[in-house]
Amino acid sequence: MATQTMLSRQFSQRTAFGLLILATAIVVVPVLFIIFYIIANGAGAISWEFLTQPPSQAGKAGGIFPAIVGTFYLILGALLFSLPIGVLAGIYLTEYARDNWLTRLINMAILNLAGVPSIVYGLFGLGVFVLALHFGMSLLAASLTLACQALAMTITTSREAILAVPREYREGSLAVGATKWQTIRHLVLPQAMPGIITGAVLAMSRAAGETAPILVVGAAFLVPGLPQSPFDQFMALPYHLYTAAAHVPGMPRTTIWGVALVLLVVVLSFNFLATIIRLRVRQRSFSS
């Protein structure tokens, strides 16, 4: 009897392990497959010329340099607008806002903002930045549009990072007569910084891959030269990929996969950067 129970317990333990490993494999294998497939198909397109030259023959020849630069400008602009506003709003909502129905409503709205389809942000950007504010179809309008979309994530991760700073630190600071703002500025923010920066960089990596929002506010398939001002139209990797794959007859398949590969590397390098920053800031705050 006792042996039997032991056996069935062993059996259910093995079954549970098996299921857990299977579920993990189902998640990991397709990701590895996609990455492998993109590399296998796109690596042939990658060359010095592909990375540093403008396109020619409607993108069928030449390189994608303006699209790479355009994507970086776009992300830089979006970061410039979303990081300060996101962090300040995060501070206000966690440290200063009273816990009442209005605050809860705002928090819920911000969470839901992250779930708004990206094309809706695009239309919002078109209506507000392109038309109402007369920025036109431009890098500026597109950066602001992506910033709006990134705000939800930046605020949420800032709030979480600020909330994660132990209450004991705040009390210790207030107890020596520091003001609330001094406590936030000199104790809470430095502690929350790794989390805030990680959130912001991850939001940027997502923005780097967005196609729909920039489609309607200023991305172009072919622009002669690099953008000279924030009011110029621009090329961007995801939009270039979409158009090359769907709208250019006779586009060499290798080129399409090559663009996909470059976009993937850009996005993954943002994630990698986030990890590096987090580790370095954490090390510094513990050793200083």
Binding site: R98, D99, P166, E168, Y169, E171, G172, S173, L174, A175, V176, G177, A178, T179, Q182, H186, L187, Q191, S285, F286, S287, S288
Partner: protein
């Protein structure tokens, strides 16, 4: 059954020098009353211990004096709390200035995740002291005063989190001393420490009592008996509001309590 407490040779307390005072204080958290009608005067340059069973409002009482209860939403104080005869309950009182005068040491050592030096310099820096040489002087003086200097003088630039629990708590005391307070509130400062570290803190408290008014909340009645000059016994009533049962010189409270409930508590019959 009787319990023998090792009482310190408590100095004669100057009762006319009342530093902190509460008069008919009621403390509410929302609709819950945490303290009821507390009236007592805490003498200057002495150690006053607040004892009582868990949840009787000892910590809440302590936090009256640096307005730390303000941090809790819905907290409300009735009655008078004074320092040097001046009320600190008014809305427009400068709590930042108050907390500079009335420092606090917490139950769990809470050094900031910075260097030992920056921990001590934190308070003075926030009050506008930025001269590095001056800060070094303050740090050394505060750390010596907190009986920690000899142990950390060679690792001022190292993380405070690397210190032992007892060292961390003395660092927190040094951090409070650095802003030159008049009163030090201690909320069960030894409850997270081993007996050796506890004794060091107690010795430190005795020496600090030469210059500072100390109020300590403690669960440990031996500790209250060992270090304090005055002792207050708080207890909960049926509605869980804390009331002051007995207050007097420690030697009297522990050897000859006037109230039956105090006697029951200190002899271990409840609590």
């Amino acid at each position: 059954m009787s319990v023998n407490y090792a009482l310190s040779n408590n100095r004669k307390v100057q009762h006319n020098n009342v530093k902190l005072k509460t008069e008919g204080v009621n403390l509410f958290y929302g609709t819950f009353q945490a303290l009821r009608n507390i009236t007592l005067g805490i003498p200057q340059r002495a150690i006053t211990a607040v004892i009582g069973p868990s949840g009787c409002g000892k910590s809440s009482f302590l936090r009256l004096f640096n307005r730390m209860n303000d941090l809790i939403a819905g907290a409300r104080v009735e009655g008078h709390v004074t320092i040097d005869g001046v009320s600190i309950c008014e809305k427009d009182i400068d709590v930042v200035e108050l907390r500079k005068r009335v420092g606090m040491v917490f139950q769990k050592p809470n050094p900031f995740p910075m260097s030992v030096f920056e921990n001590v310099a934190f308070g003075p820096r926030r009050h506008g002291r930025n001269n590095h040489r001056e800060l070094e002087g303050i740090a050394e003086r505060s750390l010596r005063h907190a009986a920690l200097w000899d142990e950390v003088k060679d690792k001022l630039e190292q993380s405070a989190l690397a210190l032992s629990g007892g060292q961390q708590q003395r660092l927190c005391i040094a951090r409070v001393l650095a802003v030159e307070p008049e009163v030090i509130l201690m909320d069960e400062p030894c409850s997270a420490l081993d007996p050796v570290a506890t004794l060091k803190i107690e010795d430190l408290m005795r020496s600090l009592a030469e210059d500072y008014t100390i109020v300590i909340v403690t669960h440990n009645m031996q500790q209250a008996a060992r270090v304090s000059d005055m002792a207050a016994f708080l207890m909960m009533e049926e509605d869980r509001a804390g009331v002051l049962v007995e207050y007097g010189p420690t030697s009297q409270l522990f050897t000859n309590p006037r109230d039956k409930r105090t006697e029951d508590y200190i002899t271990g019959r409840f609590g």
